[in-house]
């Protein structure tokens, strides 16, 4: 595929300095790009890569003298990179139509132009939107609703009554709507609390591979619009995650936690049940959050503290043996001083 530079500039809202009829055949990093490829320069640390690149064109924030070929000037070169990469990326593979090796209950409603691979199971009264792709081994429970243009990768399970929006991506092996973990003790026996709520996933969400998002005990577990989760994330029952929040791999969010918008939750973080996390909070990786965090705070550690304090503190942990020595030394000196003063 070859795209004229002029078209690329139009796609990213940029202005070409140089020959805009040039044909572009791909996109790559400054270091790896070869003739035919376009690249981008967004970070001054890569100046040297810029001056040495073999790319046939670049996207930049401001015209640069470090590069001689055609330049596309754009407000956000990193975002422009993504837009151009999308032009060259292969589309998501699609099974052509509905496989006769899929099992679809006759009461379910299928949208237009759906792609259903073999070994997909769709239960009673499910509603599948237009242009949806369901890969092999996907299980869709009774009465599940899936919006338009949503892609569900292989071996994902979505249980009964859950609701998934438009333009959602769910990666392989993920489980949506399994029972929340709730028991009442009857003597030494754990009696299961029926989990009769649902999971609701709003538009433009992307859920990583091998996630677990449990259905609510009552009501709903709710993943807001534009949320992105990485792989192996645990979301317990009745959790609410606000719009555009990002959850990095292996984080665990316990029951009934409420998370605001545009929050960033680092890898392997644990958030205790019923905690509230405000908007735009950032939580450092591996932190253990046992108390609520106000909007805009940046926290780290177990137990969590302001991130700046944690940087200081965590650096001091390795000085504990020294602290001990200093204490001993002081204790000895003070004792001597006391003796002398007697």
């Amino acid at each position: 595929m070859e795209i004229p530079l002029k078209k690329i500039a139009q796609a990213v809202g940029g202005k070409v300095i140089g020959d805009d009829r040039l044909g572009i055949t791909g996109i790559d990093s400054l270091d790896s790009a070869g003739p035919g490829s376009i690249s981008f320069f967004a970070d001054r640390r890569y100046k040297e890569s810029l001056s040495k690149t073999n790319a046939s064109a670049i996207m930049v924030r401001e015209q640069t003298e470090l590069y001689e070929g055609p330049q596309v000037v754009v407000p956000n070169p990193e975002l422009a990179y993504v837009r151009v990469a999308c032009l060259f990326a292969r589309p998501v593979p699609r099974f052509n139509g509905i496989s006769d090796r899929a099992s679809i209950h006759e009461s379910s409603r299928m949208g237009n132009n759906v792609s259903v691979y073999p070994y997909v199971y769709i239960g009673e009264d499910a509603v599948i939107g237009d242009d949806v792709v369901l890969f092999a081994g996907v299980f869709i429970g009774d009465r599940v609703k899936i919006g338009n243009r949503t892609v569900v990768y292989p071996n994902v399970s979505v249980f009964e009554d859950c609701v998934i929006g438009n333009n959602v991506i769910i990666h392989a092996g993920t489980v949506i709507g399994s029972d929340g973990f709730g028991f009442v003790q009857d003597g030494t026996t754990s009696v299961k609390i029926p989990q009769i709520g649902i999971v609701q996933i709003d538009d433009n969400v992307e859920i990583g591979a091998n996630n677990c998002i449990d259905r609510a005990a009552l009501g709903k577990t709710w993943i807001g619009k534009g949320v992105k989760t990485d792989n192996l994330v645990q979301v317990a029952h009745n959790v609410v995650i606000g719009e555009d929040t990002i959850v990095v791999a292996q984080a665990a969010i316990a029951g009934s936690v409420r998370i605001g918008r545009q929050v960033i939750i680092g890898g392997q973080v644990a958030i205790s049940d019923h905690v509230e996390i405000g908007d735009r909070v950032m939580i450092g990786s591996k932190s253990g959050i046992a108390k609520s965090v106000s909007s805009g705070e940046v926290v780290s550690g177990t137990p969590s503290m302001p991130h700046r304090l944690w940087l200081k503190t965590s650096g001091l942990i390795k000085r504990l043996p020294l602290f001990n020595e200093r204490l001993k030394h002081l204790e000895k000196k003070v004792e001597e001083l006391e003796k002398r003063l007697k």
Copy 2:
């Protein structure tokens, strides 16, 4: 569905104060319950919710003046809630009979009234009990035994020779009986130790979604009666977990660990190999357990310590920069004192 209050009271072993002919159509929390629903009051912190609820009846430990409608007096209102929720909960969905799109080896034995969804694979000489439900994409290896009334959700794998009891629930994506992680070094190469043991899961166990429970190297990995695990839990080879123990999400239990009865293991806990954990131990979330823990202890932290000490200690970590300042200050003062005394 409408159930007379009298029948509900019988189901929970309670006594009705008020009109027991009232028809109940559902159950919900005090805040969400509407006309027709029953709710429950078990925690004094919800007094205000009780006085404002629209529920048509409530379950309480003792008769209360904060609510005017009919009351069901029961010894344990929380447990009563569970019992009533079960009356209203939808039963687990069942495929009607055995799908002809399942692949079942002719040598296996199937119980009465089993439900086998499409795309289930059952190997040689497997034995499946009565009333078992196997969802789509379940893999059952050769000679596996599954007891009565057990439910296995989609895309679960159970490998050869494993034994699963009665009334067990295994959530989606879980792997039972994969090889334990064992190698012997031959120079720089890791030579795989054959894992020729099994996994045994006893009655009334519930295993969460996307768990991994490895088969033993020799002998068995053993999950005792009534154990409940949350999602994404790792259980290594030759682990033994005692009856009624609870394991919260993302905990990892290393090889040959022995865990007692009624233990509670918090989320993201790691337990080192060969450690022994006594009965009724409680382990705080995110703890790293490197040494054995005696029965009845409550521990937290990495390395672990008594939970009360950990509460103190972990609070002091954020004061380390202050400690450092105080040490410096003292050192300076002591030096001055010494000078003056010279």
Copy 3:
């Protein structure tokens, strides 16, 4: 199955002291072995077990007087145990040929003697080597290449263009080649960066159950020869793992991390993006690695430090309340001394 002791000695390169015609029917630990079984003695701590064992023969490093039966003297009895266990272990189960319930694109190329279970999906132009076993529910994307003698367990997904070597084992539920977690912010919205690289897995690798190994944004995520990963491991996009490295359960390796050869990464470790880990590094379980680590280092903790320092340090954490007391005490004494000197 009965194997003469002579043949066992040949298989492990050992020398028999005693009757080499003895028939051996199995292998077990010193404690569990019964008549007919062979066992091994590699660790002096098991002297008592050796003197009491019912095994009919043993493998030892040097002839021992603690055991009366035939002895096979070998340089590495632990390795010899593995070799003999392999003789007695059941081979991996194999579906006989290619199931007609598998879906294989006509453009793909299948090797000799492959075993393809029902419900396997193989996409366009995929290449499957000789003697490969693909269990039920495996998804193989377009243009994937799989080498000879590789075993892929149930419900594994391998996405388009990924390359898997010879003698690889991939355990159940694992996802290879899902999209890396990369977004560019456009205002408050996260715009997905297309992930157009691949995953390459070299020969003799073993990947545990429910792992996630993401495809590269550009280029490749690369798992070197002989690497072994335990269950629930996360490997982000563009990670490179060197030969013979071992990754224990629930470890998470962030984007673009480069790991050397023969590294050992403990359970629940997290490694931050772009970090470099040298050859033969050992990382203690639960550590958080935010900075690069040089070859040969042994590190632990969050933030990480030399393991020996961490042992000291982590022991002192529980003494923080005492440190606080000692500081208070000193402060009081110094104040008194100062008063007296005024």
